[in-house]
């Protein structure tokens, strides 16, 4: 797992997703001042309302392999579909790289994707086209 300096965000993506983040309170769940990077194996991808989510298996800070809940915050199926997501975007067993804000609570493993920082393949190639949710 890699840590990023505070404030490392894609500005355009932040502007696009800011509204949804404000309307789905993730306050108190994720650390707003930290960012992590996980390289892990997809366990499950649920492209479903109210909010699609990923489960991946990746190492935690202490090196143990954990199942991580990967959230897109307030985004619904309709929003992610416009960014190129679909029910078959992620397949169990494939390896992806996820960047986002880690969950605050001790002993829970979650990461919030925001600011248009979509998961990528290990070689850096994009999985989805991205763009506006609206």
């Amino acid at each position: 797992m890699r840590l990023f300096p505070k404030g490392y965000l894609l500005l355009a993506g932040v502007l696009v997703s800011a509204g949804l983040e404000a309307h789905h309170s993730t306050r108190g769940i994720y650390d707003e001042d930290r960012e992590i990077e996980l390289t892990g194996k997809v366990i499950e991808w649920r492209f479903i309302n109210p909010h699609p989510y990923l489960i991946i298996e990746a190492p935690a800070e202490d090196g143990t392999v954990q199942q991580w809940d990967v959230s897109y915050g307030g985004a619904a199926v309709v929003h992610l579909r416009r960014q190129g997501y679909a029910a078959d975007t992620f397949k169990p067993g494939e390896t992806i790289v996820v960047r986002g804000k880690p969950a605050l609570a001790e002993g829970v493993y979650g990461v919030l994707i925001e600011g248009g920082r979509h998961p990528t393949r290990p070689d850096g190639t994009q999985i989805v086209s991205g763009g506006s949710m609206f």
Binding site: L20, A22, S25, I29, Y30, P50, S71, V78, L104, V108
Partner: protein
């Protein structure tokens, strides 16, 4: 996407308007001049406060100056995990308008239907002058009871009889609403756009009325009219939430 004209009220067609106006006069109900009924039918983009994607005017902040001390006390005491949204319960009005989803309006002779693009919400506005039955004194509703009238080129909707709702003013910041909440919505046209003005009062939780005005453009995308909330997905983020009352027995949820 359905042709918007399919939804237009019969009162908007000139020949039928005259006949309908006479009929309504004979029935003793208040008639409307055909040009006072705005064409609101169609599918609309979520409202913007101006300047593209801008929802800022609709936000009731967690520590908003409009909130009474009572509202803040409730906000601080409410366990986030107990919020109805985690059981797929929708947000009520006015908070529903503050989320970026399209919505459709159908105008019928005696009612207006608002289909919201989230949570499979359909609100019925019962137009005055059609003999619709009033709710009984002991009836309260999650989305309240809405009555409407056309006035000065707008549809004015008044909604009350809301149930007490722990997320009734804002589902993100645990700001509740009481049975005294009343929401007045005014829908009008501004050229190609639809203008929505909302004023909310709640004497328990707001010091004064809370108002916002947004403009919606005609929706250009593909209308998805089925939300189908998944209960497990709705509750997923709770796994990351530290318990607010750790000494209480663990929560056991009903699998609806």
């Amino acid at each position: 996407m359905t042709n918007r004209k399919d939804y237009r009220s019969a009162l908007s067609r000139p020949a039928e308007s005259l006949a309908a106006g006479v009929a309504l006069a004979l029935l003793g109900t208040s008639g409307f001049a055909a040009d006072e009924i705005p064409d609101l039918a169609g599918i609309w983009q979520f409202g913007s406060c101006g300047g593209g994607f801008n929802l800022s005017c609709m936000i009731l902040e967690e520590d908003d100056e409009l909130l009474t001390s009572r509202a803040k006390a409730y906000r601080d005491a409410i366990d986030e995990a107990a919020q109805p949204k985690y059981d797929c319960a929708p947000m009520s009005v006015p908070h529903m308008w503050t989320d970026p989803y399209a919505y459709s309006i159908e105008q019928h002779e005696d009612r207006v239907l608002i289909h919201y693009g989230k949570d499979d919400v359909v609100r019925t506005v019962w137009l005055e002058g059609h003999g619709h039955e009033e709710p009984a004194v002991n009836e309260f509703f999650y989305f309240g009871h809405s009555t409407g009238r056309y006035e000065d080129g707008a549809l004015v909707v008044t909604t009350d009889r809301f149930t007490f709702d722990p997320q009734g003013l804002n589902a993100d910041f645990r700001i509740p609403s009481s049975t005294q909440k009343q929401v007045v919505e005014r829908f009008s046209r501004d050229g190609e756009n639809l203008v929505l003005e909302v004023t909310t009062t709640d004497t328990f939780f707001l010091k004064e009325p809370w108002s916002f005005r947004v403009t919606s453009r005609p929706f250009q995308g593909e209308w998805e009219d089925s939300w189908q909330c998944d209960l497990e997905a709705a509750r997923q983020s709770l796994k990351l939430l530290p318990p607010m009352y750790p000494d209480d027995p663990p929560i056991e949820r009903i699998e609806y």
